[in-house]
């Protein structure tokens, strides 16, 4: 199938893109990598009258350092995130989670910003962004604003982005030297997460000094496993200590029921995968 007709513009600056979006009104859509939007347009689940392609906006690409933060342009592709030396060093968790997204072809096109803006609860980059205490920088006709990941995700496929706003960049506090692992559970190749756990851990000698745990697909939005994080502080990184802390992983979660799994099974997965994620992070 092919998409319904639309007008197309490909501005070369963020300012022009924001203006085009505002001028076009509610029926306009921003196009990033197109790996979620184009499939939706093809089956005509959406039929925007205007597409604003960010593909030519050079300022939205790339990764840079700004003091104790990394700043990742929203149009940086999954492929670039996987291989970026700054991300490898200061936000390892994001690189490891991105490795598990989709397949190589999709990763060549799909973008970090597009994944966050799309806000699929099974998307693999939301929980890492939340776990790393990332902030998103958003630009609209009224200028720029910043939102924490915790405030940005509002519901299934819903963020605090207003119709005339563009996600410009993601600011990630450096987690230099933190251990990290993303444990994703699915049953077939190139599948979305049934449940996944993003874990990053700072150690002090043999003990766990601090842990940040994000849960994918355990609610309509990504969640932090706060009780696990608290239980890990000061613990030795032993299998027993990790397993005991991971028992708290499903607390406060509200996962959906679908053909893959019911609530109890997803909560079971959250506990098991949290244990595995922390152990794998420590081993890595």
């Amino acid at each position: 199938m092919i998409p319904a007709p639309f007008d197309y513009v490909a501005p070369s600056t963020v300012d022009d893109a924001v203006r085009a979006l505002a001028d076009a009104g509610e029926d306009a859509k921003v196009l990033a990598g197109g790996q979620s939007l184009l499939p939706v347009l093809r089956v005509r689940l959406a039929a925007p009258t205007k597409i604003i392609d960010l593909g030519k906006v050079a300022e939205l690409r790339g990764v840079r350092e700004e003091g104790d933060h990394l700043v990742i342009g929203s149009m940086t592709t999954h492929y670039e995130v996987q291989r970026d030396p700054l991300i490898a060093e200061h936000a390892t968790l994001l690189a490891r989670a991105t490795d598990t997204v989709a397949d190589p072809q999709v990763r060549h096109r799909g973008t970090f910003g597009g994944s966050l803006a799309h806000a699929d609860p099974a998307g693999d980059l939301l929980a890492p962004a939340l776990a790393l205490d990332a902030e998103v920088v958003i630009q609209g006709m009224d200028g720029k604003r910043t939102a924490t990941a915790a405030d940005f995700f509002e519901d299934f496929f819903t963020t605090s982005l207003r119709p005339d706003e563009i996600l410009v960049e993601v600011r990630v506090p450096k987690h230099t030297g933190w251990h990290a692992h993303y444990e994703k559970f699915n049953r077939v190749a190139q599948a979305w997460s049934m449940v996944a756990v993003a874990a990053t851990v700072r150690t002090d000698g043999d003990a766990i000094a601090e842990a940040k745990i994000g849960l994918t697909n355990m609610s309509s939005i990504p969640m932090r496993a706060t009780a696990v994080e608290q239980a890990l502080v000061g613990q030795p990184a032993t299998t027993e200590a990790i397993r005991a802390a991971a028992e708290h992983a499903a607390e406060g979660t509200n996962p959906t029921v679908d053909g893959n799994a019911d609530v109890e099974y997803r909560q079971h997965l959250a506990r098991v995968l949290t244990g595995r994620a922390i152990s794998a992070a420590m081993a890595g």
Partner: protein, 179 residues
């Protein structure tokens, strides 16, 4: 909208509707019917081509997004009547049954070998994760890719040289750099 795309070394300028998918542009306007469509959900990978040196699913790219870019399809791989080493390896290893997935499998295999010239079986399966074979001929596909890797090794003979200009990594479209 008027776009110019270089496909398999030839530059084409055409007026296209913005909603035209790259795969339809290739097949219906340019006659490059070697690239096929196997699904409506961006899952099967049969439509895989290289866009500025990287594999993409051409059903999930608009033709207008390819304006100013270089596309390589399975039709652009052979040189002087000689198959590309990956094509030859698919032939030699019986890596196809009905052949519908083959154009995409070959294009993705070339991408995978550009990233990792000597993949083990696991790496081949991961690298081909986005390509489905309904005939489930995966065993021989994996064998073919590893065989091709063997033939494409530096010093493996004249075949390997052809790969330098076809399986190209121009890196022009990518900021992060390859390996």
């Amino acid at each position: 909208m008027r776009i110019t795309v270089t496909v398999d070394g030839t530059s084409y300028t055409d007026d296209v509707e913005p909603r035209t998918l790259l795969v339809h542009h290739l097949r219906e306007r340019l006659g490059k019917v070697g690239t096929v469509v196997g699904c409506d959900t961006s899952n099967c990978g049969a439509c895989t081509v290289h866009l500025d040196g990287h594999s993409v699913k051409s059903c999930s790219v608009l033709a207008v997004q390819a304006d100013g870019s270089e596309v390589t399809t399975v039709e652009g791989l052979a040189r002087d009547g000689q198959l590309h080493p990956v094509q030859q390896a698919f032939h030699d290893n019986h890596a196809l049954q009905c052949g519908f997935c083959t154009p995409g499998m070959i294009m993705q295999s070339i991408d995978l070998l550009a990233d990792n010239p000597d993949p083990d079986e696991h790496a081949v399966r991961e690298g081909l994760e986005g390509n489905l074979c309904r005939c489930t001929g995966y065993q021989n596909i994996v064998k073919a890719v590893r065989d091709a890797a063997h033939h494409m090794r530096p010093g493996a003979g004249p075949e390997a040289e052809r790969v330098a200009d076809t399986g190209s990594r121009t890196a022009s479209s990518v900021g992060g750099g390859g390996e």
